[in-house]
């Protein structure tokens, strides 16, 4: 079988995009990988994720080989700092305009198909002011804690390790005033971090303030271990307000199992900030005339079939479609790659599939 000459365009070099690029390239098909930022690896690298749930695997072990492959393989052409500005043509013969964001130069390329993997952004907790994020010291997001864990040093603004840490779940998730969807991974990630905090600071007390625990599938192991091995406590309820007393953080919430309001002091509050579609997704949707769903994620033709954008030759993968974990994003990238390769081979051989 002869591979088509036109490359496959992959937009976004996160877990899904990198995996898609690798799979396509390994099939012998050239890949054009366009990334808006200056570095490859997407969210896990950009936010310096320490380890990945559920088995505490260092991020580099998962992402490193993918990045290395895409940077060194002759089939992969990487364009950093670029976005796709528009397109025309038909499957097998798309003409895309690629714009360098710094020089504003526009390059035209011909590609056979397009894989959109523009990923997500963490919810900006300043939008929900009740948690005091951005205004109060020691109120941080899970992404910032991840960086601290990577440095192996979890401390408050005064440089002291916290004695009592509260994780607040569903910040910017499952809330009509912010984002109504579930971000699917924050429970698992928060619990993973809680365990890591306990490993780092065994004398600390870690509390998880949750509405529901959604450690889906095999991630449940994290939930069990956090209780059974690490003595992490879970409080069912939602936090109404975090107040900085000048020394500590006063967390006001309700323990719904006791049916009573609580006001307890903590040294550190970690917000499990949700996942939302980023500006890259919106921009790509505009450039490629893709439809967005009510939440601003890219809408597949059938909600259950993520890779099918409804436009022939354009495939979707990763967290630009729905909130998902790294493991799911990798599979989605692979699935989209399969679709691109399949389409390429059909167009070459003029064989209907």
């Amino acid at each position: 079988m002869k591979a088509p000459d036109n490359p496959v365009l992959v937009i976004g070099a996160g877990p899904a995009g990198l995996q898609a690029a690798k799979d396509v390239a390994e099939f012998g098909v050239p890949v054009l990988l366009v990334e808006r930022r200056k570095e490859l690896g997407g969210a896990p690298i950009r936010w310096s994720y320490h380890t990945l749930a559920p088995d505490f695997r260092p991020t580099e072990e998962v992402m490193g080989p993918l990045i290395d492959f895409c940077q060194s393989n002759k089939n992969v052409t990487v364009m950093k700092g670029c976005i796709v500005d528009g397109y025309s043509g038909r499957p097998g013969d798309f003409h895309v305009r690629i714009k360098d964001e710094t020089t504003k130069n526009i390059t035209e390329k011909v590609v056979s198909s397009i894989i959109v993997a523009t990923g997500f952004e963490h919810f900006d907790a300043r939008v929900d002011p009740r948690y005091g994020y951005g205004r109060m010291p020691n109120v941080i997001g899970i992404n910032e804690l991840e960086i601290m864990l990577k440095q192996g040093r979890v401390v408050g603004h005064d440089g002291k390790p916290p004695k009592r840490v509260a994780f607040i779940f569903c910040v910017g998730s499952r809330d009509r005033s912010t984002n109504p969807w579930c971000c699917t991974v924050c429970c698992g990630v928060s619990i993973k971090q809680g365990i890591e905090v306990k490993q780092l600071l065994p004398d600390s007390q870690v509390y998880m303030i949750y509405m529901d625990i959604r450690t889906i599938g095999l991630w449940e192991k994290l939930y069990w271990e956090s209780m059974e091995k690490y003595g992490i406590n879970f409080i069912r309820g939602r936090v109404g307000e975090v107040y900085y007393t000048g020394e500590k953080l006063l967390v006001k919430g309700e323990d719904t199992l006791v049916r009573g309001p609580f006001e307890v002091l903590f040294d550190m509050v970690v917000l499990a900030v949700g996942i939302e579609p980023g500006p890259g997704t919106k921009q790509a949707a505009g450039a490629l005339s893709l439809s967005l769903n009510e939440y601003g994620f890219l809408a597949p033709k059938i909600p259950n079939v993520h890779f099918d954008s409804g436009k022939e030759g354009i495939f979707l993968a990763g967290a630009c479609v729905a909130p998902m974990s790294v493991e799911e994003a990798l599979s989605e990238g692979s699935a989209a790659a399969m679709q691109a390769v399949k389409l390429g081979s059909r167009l070459m051989q003029k064989v209907p599939v």
Partner: protein, 436 residues
């Protein structure tokens, strides 16, 4: 009716409460499915536009904050600039203050006299009846609005601008104004009532609370400061009815607590050079909450102590708690008696912003500020401000003896009943202060 149960404007921008709507609203309210809310900030701004239209049509008279009142502009929560008159104000007193916290009003009058600002203390004022409105939970918008407009007309005919002391009246009037402007039915019925008492439908362009007046006058007040306040730690309680009813119309300032708390009262504490401290329960009611004070005084008293006083003392260790409504001063102050008797030791003096400002300006703590009526111990505060309260108290006692002997009491200065003609002086400025 919108889904959320909020009354929305009709097509002609009238708030038409038809019989069916009213019934539905009543049912929903009784089932606690809807709350009677007056729309959004946008609706509020529309109401102001509507007021201008009605004035143009000649349906109502608008009492403008003209240059004669030397107005100062402040930012409100809606982002709009609100004009606060500084002179020739008509003092709309609170029905509770003279009995419970007399120093609150006498200190305010004293400040105005000290600053040489003319004002009218009219005897021709009625109580706003909002107490009953909130106390019973039932509403008679026509009656309430009629009382509101009757008082506003009383100010208008004296050619003085109404300055409302009571937080509840202030909030209630803002709601009534919304109803009168937006609802033709209420407007016409109120007009008929006013006609019977030979008054016209006069709506003030701005409804102004006295704390806003102190806010814009704070630099003048600070300029006459007699005592060094830099060592005084202050906590502020803002009255619910000033900033929670029609919230978009109360003063906020980015330079004061980052604009996350109402600006007045905090601003006067800062202007006087004292240390302003924040605390976690700042948003909570003082415990007065009408229904509770009427039926559940034990709970109101306990709430005032356990949810306000104790956290404030524990978190801030402040020397004084200042607030700007007679209900708040009374509740927060008097509710400390029982806990103190029971052995709880956390206590803090509670005074109004006018008393605080007057004390700083050198007013007599007893003859003017009437601190002797306060329960919580104010002596450490006076000592910290550098006021010799013992000498002042002796003075006060001899003053009382003189009064017994037939001297005319002087603690409330002879209130001016008429305005004096005066030349117009200042140009309008928008108050954009720098954090002191």
């Amino acid at each position: 009716m919108a889904d959320g149960g909020v009354v929305q404007l009709g097509k002609d921008e009238e708030l038409e409460l038809g019989k069916e709507d009213a019934k539905l609203l009543e049912t929903l309210s009784s089932q606690r499915k809807a709350k009677f809310a007056f729309g959004t900030t946008e609706d509020y701004l529309k109401m102001l536009e509507r007021m201008k239209e009605l004035e143009k049509k000649g349906e109502i008279i608008v009492h403008h904050v003209t240059d004669d009142y030397d107005p100062v502009g402040v930012r409100t929560l809606s982002g709009r600039v609100k004009k606060i008159p500084t002179r020739e104000t008509w003092q709309h007193k609170s029905c509770g203050q003279c009995g419970h916290i007399p120093g609150y009003i006498s200190a305010f009058y004293w400040i105005m006299s000290e600053l040489g600002v003319s004002y009218v203390d009219d005897t021709n004022q009625t109580s706003c009846t909002a107490w009953n409105y909130y106390g019973s939970g039932t509403s008679n918008p026509v009656a309430l609005s009629a009382v509101f407009l009757r008082n506003m007309h009383a100010a208008y005919e004296r050619n003085a601008y109404p300055l409302i002391h009571c937080g509840t009246s202030y909030g209630d009037y803002k709601e009534c104004r919304y109803l009168v402007v937006m609802n033709r039915d209420i407007r016409e019925r109120v007009r008929a009532i006013l006609k019977k008492v030979d008054r016209e439908l006069v709506i003030p362009e701005e409804l102004v609370h006295y704390s806003e007046w102190l806010h814009v006058m704070r630099q003048e007040v600070a300029a006459r400061r007699k005592f060094d306040m830099s060592g005084v730690k202050v906590a502020v309680h803002a009255a619910c009815h000033t900033y929670k009813l029609m919230a978009e119309d109360y003063t906020y300032d980015e330079n004061i607590l980052g604009g996350r708390r109402p600006a007045p009262t905090s601003s006067i504490a800062l202007a006087l050079g004292s240390q302003l401290l924040d605390y976690s329960n700042w948003y909570d009611c003082c415990g007065f909450g009408f229904r509770h004070i009427l039926t559940e005084r034990e709970i109101a008293r306990s709430f005032a102590y356990f949810r306000k006083i104790r956290p404030i003392v524990r978190e801030t260790h402040a020397d004084v708690l200042i607030t700007h409504d007679t209900g708040c001063v009374t509740t927060l102050d008097k509710s400390q008696v029982v806990p103190l008797a029971q052995g709880y030791r956390e206590t803090i003096p509670v005074i109004s912003d006018s008393q605080f400002a007057a004390l700083a300006m050198g007013a007599h703590p007893f003859i003017v500020c009437q601190l002797q009526w306060h329960i919580a111990d104010w002596k450490p505060l006076l000592a910290k401000m550098g006021i010799d309260w013992q000498a002042a108290y002796e003075e006060y006692k001899s003053y009382l003896d003189k009064v017994k002997g037939g001297m005319k009491p002087a603690f409330i200065r002879s209130p001016p009943r008429h305005l004096q003609p005066r030349p117009h002086t200042k140009a309008f400025r928008v108050d954009e202060p720098v954090m002191s």
